[in-house]
C-alpha cells in the first residue's frame, strides 16, 4: 500500500513537472494570430474552400516555437464583406498576417486596409494587378499567368510539337489575362493561333465553339476555362470524336473537375498548374495529400497546397524570430523558402511562385501524372 502510494505520488510529480515544463515552453512560444478570410460561399467557393483547408491544415499542424491562433471568416463574393471581415479581425486582435481571399477583386479592396494596418496578406489569388500596385504587404503563393501560361504554351510547342493552337478562354478577368499571356507566349514560340473564342461563365452548349475551332484546322485545343466549362468542353470534344490533344488551364488539374468526367474521356487531356498534390512525387507530398483527405474528406489541389505552403513559410519565419508583422513582411520579402509545391522567393513585388507543372491523364484513372516541370519560368528566382 505504502509502495503504491509512493508510486502514485511519483507519477503525479512527474506529470506535474512535465506539465510545468510544457507550460513554460508554451509561455515561451511566439504568439501569432492569422485570420483566414476566404470565400467559402459564392462562385469562388470551390477554390476558396481549398484555400481555407490548406491554411487551416498548416495552422493546425503548427510549428515548434509558435503558438498560432486563427479564425475563419467567409468573405462571400463582395469586396465589402471581405473588407469588413478584415477590419473586424484587425479590431479584435493583434493580427500577425492574413490568409487572404483568392478572389482578386476582394484582394484589391483589402490591400489598402492591410497596408494602413501594416499586416501581410498571404494569398493564392491569380489576379495580376495585385502585385503591380507597389503594395509591399501582399504575397502571392501561386504562380501567375506569366508563369503557368508560358509553361502551358511551351509544353504544347516544345513537347507536343504543335504549332496551330485553338484557344478557348473565359470572358472573365481571369480568362482574359490567361488569353493575353497565351497569345504572347505562342507568338514568342513561333506558333500560329488559328482560332480563339471567349465564353461567358453561363454558357451551356460547347458544340458551337468546338465546331468553329475544328473548322480552323488546329493541331491542339488549348483551354483556359473555369472548372465546369472545362469539363463540359472536354466531354463535348470526346463525344464529337475529336482526337486532338487538349491542354487545359489549371481548372483541369483539380480533382473535382476530373470527377465530372469518365477516365476514358480524360485520355489525352493535360493541364497546367502550380502543383498537383494528388500526383505525389515525394513522401512529404504524399503525406500532405493523405492528411488532407483524412481531415477534409476531399482531394487536395494546387490552391490548397499553395496556401498551406504560405502559412508554413510564415510560421517558419515567426519561429526564426520575425515576431512582428513588419518583421514577417521583411522576412517574406527577402528569404527563400522550400515548400512542398516548390521553392518560394519574392520577385520584389510579392510574387513568390515561379514554377509550374504540366499534368496529363492516361485515360484509365482520374489521377494525373506530372508530364513536365518548368522551374523559375519568369527568371525571378
Amino acid at each position: 500500500m505504502h509502495r503504491t502510494a509512493k508510486t502514485v505520488a511519483a507519477i503525479l510529480l512527474a506529470g506535474a513537472t512535465a506539465l510545468a515544463a510544457e507550460s513554460a515552453a508554451a509561455a515561451d512560444d511566439k504568439k501569432a494570430v492569422f485570420p483566414v478570410l476566404v470565400p467559402i460561399t459564392g462562385f469562388l467557393a470551390l477554390e476558396g474552400t481549398a484555400q481555407r483547408n490548406g491554411a487551416v491544415l498548416a495552422l493546425d499542424e503548427g510549428i515548434d516555437g509558435v503558438a498560432a491562433r486563427y479564425e475563419v471568416q467567409d468573405t462571400g463574393t463582395s469586396p465589402e464583406v471581405a473588407v469588413n471581415a478584415l477590419l473586424r479581425a484587425l479590431s479584435r486582435d493583434e493580427v500577425t498576417a492574413v490568409a487572404a481571399s483568392i478572389f482578386g477583386t476582394q484582394m484589391l479592396a483589402m490591400m489598402p486596409v492591410a497596408a494602413e494596418a501594416e499586416v501581410p496578406l498571404l494569398t493564392v489569388s491569380g489576379t495580376a494587378k495585385l502585385t503591380e500596385m507597389g503594395n509591399p504587404w501582399v504575397f502571392r503563393f501561386f504562380p501567375t499567368d506569366a508563369v503557368v501560361k508560358v509553361a502551358q504554351a511551351r509544353y504544347i510547342v516544345e513537347e507536343l510539337g504543335k504549332k496551330r493552337p485553338a484557344i478557348i478562354y473565359q470572358t472573365t478577368a481571369y480568362g482574359q489575362s490567361g488569353q493575353a499571356h497565351l497569345l504572347a507566349a505562342f507568338e514568342k514560340l513561333g506558333a500560329k493561333v488559328v482560332y480563339e473564342e471567349g465564353l461567358a461563365p453561363d454558357v451551356k452548349d460547347m458544340l458551337p465553339a468546338l465546331t468553329k475551332a475544328l473548322a480552323a484546322d488546329p493541331d491542339v485545343l488549348v483551354l483556359h476555362l473555369h472548372s465546369g466549362l472545362t469539363a463540359l468542353f472536354v466531354r463535348q470534344a470526346k463525344a464529337n470524336g475529336t482526337d486532338l490533344p487538349i491542354v487545359a488551364g489549371s481548372a483541369m488539374h483539380q480533382p473535382t473537375t476530373a470527377a465530372l468526367l469518365e477516365p476514358a474521356e480524360l485520355a489525352g487531356v493535360c493541364a497546367e498548374s502550380g502543383s498537383s498534390p494528388i500526383s505525389g512525387g515525394s513522401p512529404e507530398m504524399n503525406a500532405f495529400a493523405e492528411t488532407y483527405r483524412v481531415r477534409f474528406d476531399a482531394e487536395p489541389d494546387a490552391f490548397a497546397l499553395g496556401q498551406y505552403d504560405a502559412m508554413r513559410m510564415a510560421l517558419t519565419a515567426i519561429a526564426e524570430g520575425a515576431a512582428t508583422p513588419e518583421a514577417l513582411r521583411e522576412k517574406l520579402a527577402t528569404t527563400e523558402y522550400r515548400g512542398l509545391a516548390m521553392t518560394y522567393k519574392s520577385d520584389g513585388t510579392g510574387n513568390m511562385a515561379h514554377d509550374a507543372v504540366i499534368v496529363c491523364y492516361d485515360g484509365e484513372s482520374r489521377i494525373p501524372h506530372i508530364a513536365a516541370r518548368y522551374e523559375n519560368v519568369d527568371g525571378a528566382r
Binding site: 467557393a45 471567349g198 465546331t211 465546369g228 463525344a239
Partner: protein
C-alpha cells in the same frame, strides 16, 4: 458545317430549350397563380439537380428511374416554399414576395454549399448509352431523352391544367382569385398546389440538366434569368408562351453562337429582349395577366 453537326446543334438547342422550358413553365405557373415573381425558381432547379446527385449516390440507377422521386420530393419542398415565402406575405405589397423568394434562393444556395460543397457535380444520365443512329446520322441519346422527358412533363402539366378539376381550380385562381374564392375554390390550397407543381417541374429540370451541364450551388441565378427572359418573350404569365420563349432563347443562343460567337449571342439576346419590351411589351404571344409587376 456538315449535316451531322448541324443536326446535333439543333438537337442541342432543342434539348437545352426543353430544360429551360420546364424552368420557365414553373416560373410562369407561380406568376399566374399569385401575380408574384418567384425569384427562387432557379435555385429550386439547382436543388433538384443536387437532390438527383444525392439520390444517385444511394441508388445508382438511370435518371429516368429517379425522376418520380425527385418530382415528389421537390413538390414537398414547393409546399414548404409556399408556406414560408408566399402565404405570410400574400396580402403585403408584391415586393415582399420578391424579397422572401430571394431569401429562399440564398438559403438554398448556402444550404447546398454547406451540404454538397461548391464543386460542380454530375447527375446520372437520363438513360444509359451514348449515341443513337438516325437516318445515317449519329445523335446523342441524352439530348433526345431530355427532349422527350421535357415534352412529356410539359404535356402532363397541360393535361393537369386543362383536363382536371385541380387544374381548372388553378386556372380559375390564376385568372381571378377573388371570383374563384367566391365560387368556393380554396385558393390558398390551390396556390400551394401550384407552388408544388412549379417546384416539381424545377426539380425535373434540375435532373435533366444535371448530367449534361452539371450542377453547382450558384447555378440558379443564371437559370432564373433565362426563365425570366423566356416568360417576357413568351408573354407574362402565359404558360405556352413560356415554353415557346424558352425554346426561342435556347435556339437563339446555340445558333447565333455557332454562326458568330458566344459574346455576340449573349449581347444579341439582351438587345432583342430590350427591343421586344420597347415594341411589343406584352411578349410575342401576348400577355395572359396584364398585371405585370
Amino acid at each position: 458545317m456538315d449535316g451531322t453537326v448541324l443536326l446535333q446543334l439543333l438537337l442541342n438547342a432543342l434539348s437545352l430549350g426543353a430544360a429551360y422550358g420546364l424552368v420557365a413553365l414553373g416560373f410562369a405557373l407561380v406568376i399566374g397563380a399569385t401575380g408574384a415573381v418567384n425569384f427562387a425558381q432557379g435555385d429550386l432547379v439547382m436543388a433538384g439537380g443536387l437532390l438527383t446527385v444525392a439520390l444517385a449516390s444511394l441508388l445508382p440507377v438511370d435518371g429516368l428511374l429517379l425522376l418520380p422521386l425527385v418530382v415528389l420530393a421537390m413538390a414537398g419542398l414547393g409546399l414548404l416554399v409556399c408556406a414560408l415565402a408566399y402565404l405570410p406575405f400574400r396580402n403585403a405589397p408584391p415586393v415582399s414576395v420578391f424579397v422572401s423568394t430571394i431569401a429562399v434562393g440564398i438559403l438554398l444556395q448556402n444550404g447546398a454549399n454547406g451540404l454538397f460543397g461548391a464543386a460542380p457535380r454530375a447527375g446520372p444520365p437520363l438513360l444509359s448509352g451514348g449515341e443513337v443512329g438516325f437516318g445515317g446520322l449519329v445523335l446523342d441519346r441524352q439530348s433526345l431523352a431530355v427532349i422527350v422527358a421535357a415534352v412529356l412533363l410539359a404535356g402532363g402539366t397541360w393535361l393537369l391544367l386543362h383536363r382536371s378539376q385541380i387544374g381548372r381550380r388553378m386556372r380559375a385562381t390564376a385568372q381571378d382569385p377573388e371570383m374563384a374564392r367566391a365560387m368556393g375554390v380554396n385558393t390558398t390550397r390551390t396556390i400551394a398546389l401550384t407552388f408544388a407543381l412549379a417546384t416539381a417541374l424545377a426539380g425535373a429540370a434540375g435532373l435533366l440538366l444535371s448530367n449534361r451541364y452539371f450542377v453547382t450551388p450558384v447555378e440558379g441565378t443564371n437559370l432564373m434569368l433565362k426563365a425570366y427572359i423566356a416568360v417576357v418573350v413568351g408573354g407574362w404569365g402565359r404558360i405556352g408562351g413560356a415554353l415557346a420563349g424558352a425554346m426561342l432563347v435556347a435556339g437563339f443562343e446555340v445558333i447565333v453562337s455557332s454562326v458568330l460567337s458566344y459574346p455576340v449571342a449573349e449581347a444579341g439576346l439582351y438587345i432583342c429582349v430590350l427591343l421586344l419590351l420597347l415594341l411589343r411589351p406584352q411578349g410575342v404571344f401576348g400577355e395572359a395577366l396584364g398585371r405585370r409587376v
